[in-house]
Symmetry: C2
Subunit: 301 residues, 2 copies
């Protein structure tokens, strides 16, 4: 099944358009896990991130169909961190979760292809190999069409998808993304290109395999984009800790309740203090609560 | 010494504003090395890339002061590839080379900081640790100021530098980079921001530690940018295999012969066929020839 229909099916099955971002930060990791893997060496940090994220996957899987590991934190632990990322992605898949690797890669031609194959896989000595296997990845579009197409080609061969950065959730996003490009802001011009990359690849759910990142912190822009581009999946960061609530993400959805997947990272992973011994219950409650809030959007409410 | 002055000093010492890009591609690696590490598994590929790149460093070091490993090819081999990248960067430093990690990272706030620390280092258990230690890295600026500043802060603490993508060398670069933003193309608006990030950080050589990528394949744009932004280092890809020659890169230089560092990857690494047993001499000759061609620019000729 193509990526867009798999995403729609997973969201419907779980009853919530929710994605949990796996952004492990040492200072937030439960003390019990930190102590077990201390002192804080690259290897110890990587092991703590691995244990915590794997626990988190199992805690949230009843409520959530999609997870988004943030590559940066694993990269910062060196090769050991990358091993942990690799096995975490495999573990998420084994739990039936759709995985979006948030690594914001971008490069041209065969270099872009190498980044894409690291996620979507390639043949090596007769076997399929993917360094960091995921169903989708995030892409920065600044370099242009010949730097996006290698990712899209590679994704499509694997029934995967990509999410292109269009309107990011940070306060500084306006610096370039709001530049007036002949009557429309830059982010809108990028969104136009994303819609074109989807042409001929719209699934049964009415959405394509090239999605866009549209921050929850800019609801009026989300509304404008939703109206203009009904066939594009939106990945919506900024829910919860970054300040976006249900009302802020509502404009990203279509009238049928599909069209967006909302990411929450800190709000679900770290709802309590590191010293809280009951952190697992807190994670479960945070996931349940976010899923329930967002579930109403899926029903078109 | 700050990054910009170190770069100027290295270029003057070697007599050429030349950077060798380490972009290992399996199909181009000398057969003798491929055979030694075959069959083609992720580990075998990583080991072949490591051996080839390390040999290449030693062959080019008499002519070249700067090297630019391309992260994508190492990432595509998984954790073993990342180990090879890590040790290759250390080896380049031990040879006295300035290293620019070409990984085009981009993200906001503490996530951007994690990517930056993976290159410029951080304190862990009382020791400095950098996953992929380099003197500089490439950055995609699309996300805005609060996604560039974490990289710049981290670089400055380590006397390092960053190169922001402004005008990339690919044919498709025009799609977004040439959009008319109130009378100037987008790439020019990005370049204006880069110049601002340099304010207060101009070295004795008259150039700052926030450089920009300006492809050799767009010489008229390079000339316009050179005139408008005299205090910004240009990293110029696209020399050699991508079609740029000395005349195409000349506009990137200031009248004093400084201001640009020209990258050549395939033209120096792979001047001959993989089956050529004399590939080492060919690499030496290619590096010598490129350095000699570009050396004339440094003298303001």
């Amino acid at each position: 099944m193509n990526f867009s229909d798999r995403l729609a099916e997973t969201i419907r099955k779980k009853g919530a358009p929710l994605c949990v971002g796996l952004d492990p930060r040492w200072e937030n990791i439960p003390l019990a896990i930190r102590k077990k893997h201390g002192p804080r060496t690259p290897e110890g940090e990587a092991a703590a991130y691995g244990e915590f994220c794997q626990e988190a996957l199992e805690l949230v899987v009843p409520f959530v169909g999609v997870v988004k590991p943030q590559s940066a934190f694993f990269e910062n632990c060196g090769p050991e961190g990358m091993k942990v990322l690799q096995s975490l992605l495999g573990h998420a898949r084994a739990l039936g979760l759709i995985t979006i690797l948030d690594n914001k890669r971008n490069d041209i031609a065969s270099t872009g292809q190498a980044y894409a194959e690291a996620v979507f896989g390639r043949e090596l000595d007769g076997k399929k190999y993917a360094a960091w296997p995921a169903d989708a990845m995030t892409i920065n579009p600044y370099l242009g069409a010949d730097a996006v197409e290698p990712f899209l080609d590679s994704a499509r061969k694997a029934d995967g998808g990509i999410f292109l950065l269009v309107r990011t959730s940070n306060p500084g996003a306006r610096l370039f993304q709001d530049l007036d490009c002949s009557g429309k802001p830059l982010y809108f011009r990028v969104a136009e290109a994303v819609a074109k990359w989807n042409e001929g690849h719209i699934g049964a759910c009415g959405l394509g395999d090239a999605g866009m990142v549209v921050g929850a912190t800019y609801p009026s822009e989300a509304a404008e984009l939703r109206q203009a581009f009904p066939h594009v999946w939106f990945l919506v960061p900024g829910f919860g800790a970054q300040g976006g609530g249900v009302e802020e993400v509502r404009p990203a959805f279509r009238a049928d309740g599909l069209g967006a997947i909302v990411n929450s990272s800190r709000g679900i992973l770290f709802p309590t203090k590191p010293e809280d011994v009951n952190w697992k219950q807190a994670v479960v409650e945070a996931a349940r609560s976010a899923a329930s809030q967002l579930g109403s959007l899926l029903k078109g409410q």
